[in-house]
């Protein structure tokens, strides 16, 4: 037994979970457990109460609304990778998830857990930044929608009240012919990325009509490279345009830590933005 003693709760509905959160001061929400359980085992967190969402009805699974994916917060990463709508409509999601831990951890880890844990280098927040995903949180007064841009508050802290629960993530579709690229660099496979880049492109008649680029691992929250996105729209999807985007990426404010310097992160960001854009252009129909 490694975690310090806690009281375990297993609510059956989101309302019950929210009520438990409101009732108990020092409570932690347990989703897939692939980040919280290590922290409990090592006693980095010592909560009085653990509220397990694994028995909560109605907050897992994927719905295709025709214009967006609605993903229950407790949907496992492995189930996302296998979901037909996810694979067909948002193929960058399964591709990026290949980089999330290992298949054994993806069998338990959830999309909502990753978005709430909000590790700066995590892939799912990086994807939601690129997609402008919308997160739905349930609280005592009902539900509210939070655009992903407003979701991260600070290092590993989402804008979620102490009595609020993330229940749903909405991912709006890009055009059927959109191209996508996801690349990251880590010392070992499955390790945390030093830099991760997600790129989405729509190309019409040989011209880029829409672009989104997000960079994970550079800052406490995923960065959108809006300056490069604006410059790309109207340009031809060629090496020159992507090298210009890379140069903009080189100028981002990147954090440094004991292992990776800010300058190295900037260099990685430049290289990986270019690679992700090249990959996205190759996959976009209408690039020719």
């Amino acid at each position: 037994m490694k975690p310090a003693p806690f009281t375990y709760h297993d609510p059956a509905t989101p309302e019950e979970a929210v009520a438990l959160l409101a009732e108990h001061e020092d409570a932690k929400v347990l989703a897939g457990g692939q980040s919280l359980m290590p922290m409990l085992n090592m006693r980095f967190v010592v909560p009085d109460h653990v509220i397990d969402l694994n028995g909560v009805a109605g907050i897992s699974g994927v719905t295709d609304t025709g214009s967006a994916l609605e993903i229950g917060a407790m949907t496992r990463q492995r189930d996302l990778m296998r979901d037909a709508a996810v694979v067909a409509k948002t193929p960058i999601i399964p591709e990026a998830l290949e980089n999330v831990g290992h298949f054994q951890t993806r069998n338990r880890g959830t999309i909502g857990g990753s978005l709430c844990h909000l590790d700066p280098s995590a892939e799912l927040p990086c994807l939601m930044a690129a997609y402008d995903g919308v997160l739905t949180a349930h609280g005592p007064d009902g539900a509210r929608d939070i655009p992903f841009a407003e979701w991260p508050l600070a290092y590993m802290i989402p804008t979620l009240g102490p009595d609020e629960l993330l229940t749903k993530i909405t991912v709006p579709y890009w055009g059927a012919d959109h191209g996508y690229g996801f690349v990251e660099f880590a010392r070992r496979h499955g390790d945390f990325a030093m830099i991760a880049v997600a790129a989405l492109l729509e190309v019409e008649g040989g011209t880029i009509s829409r672009a989104a680029i997000s960079i994970g691992g550079a800052d406490v929250r995923p960065l959108r490279l809006t300056e490069a996105e604006t410059a790309l729209v109207g340009a031809a999807p060629n090496a020159e345009a992507f090298k210009a985007s890379a140069e903009i990426a080189r100028g981002i404010d990147a954090m440094s830590d004991a292992y990776v310097s800010s300058a190295y992160r900037q260099r990685l960001a430049a290289t990986l933005v270019e690679r992700a854009l090249v990959q996205a252009a190759e996959r976009a129909s209408g690039s020719a």
């Binding site: 457990g33 085992n41 653990v50």
Partner: protein
């Protein structure tokens, strides 16, 4: 007072009921509660893969799951891979044949991970096998024999 729950878990086809402290990991419950010491606890934070078991058929880290969360579910540990008469699982045969184990500490996690992997991907490439065990650390660094064994077992299992 300790927070406890009554659970009922099927392990390797056999039903068990127990009263567990809610903070007990599934791995510790298997070892200390049921005496199934084939599951090895290594890093206990999800990195080394030694404690991997199958829950409802899917490979998971038993150090990152609470025993109480396995209530009503089916768990397969390394002890459940061989037949009741002692006939080894094709993967176990192949590990023996290809020297896929040295000290043996990582072996239970390798076997349970690969059993789930080969079921979903019966004809893997060498690269796919290496990817599948990328979350299982062998500190003897005996990966070559493990990969050879997995590829050989895949062939055997397809033939049978």
């Amino acid at each position: 007072m300790a927070d406890t729950r009554d659970i009922e878990v099927t392990v390797n086809g056999k039903s068990h009921t127990a009263n567990v402290e809610t903070r007990t990991s599934l791995g510790d419950f298997l070892r200390h509660g049921l005496g199934l010491t084939g599951t090895h606890m290594g890093c206990e934070h999800g990195v080394c893969g030694a404690c991997t078991v199958m829950v409802d058929g899917e490979a998971v880290r038993s150090c990152l799951m609470l025993a109480v969360q396995a209530n009503g579910q089916e768990v397969t540990t390394v002890e459940g891979l061989a037949d009741e008469d002692g006939t080894l699982h094709p993967l176990q045969e192949a590990f023996w044949k290809h020297h896929g184990l040295q000290c043996g500490f990582c072996t239970p996690g390798m076997l349970t991970s690969l059993a789930a992997f080969l079921r979903d991907n019966p004809d893997p490439s060498e690269r796919e096998v290496r990817e599948a065990i990328s979350g299982n650390i062998c500190r003897c660094t005996g990966y070559q024999g493990i990969v050879d064994a997995a590829l050989d077992a895949a062939k055997t299992m397809q033939g049978s």
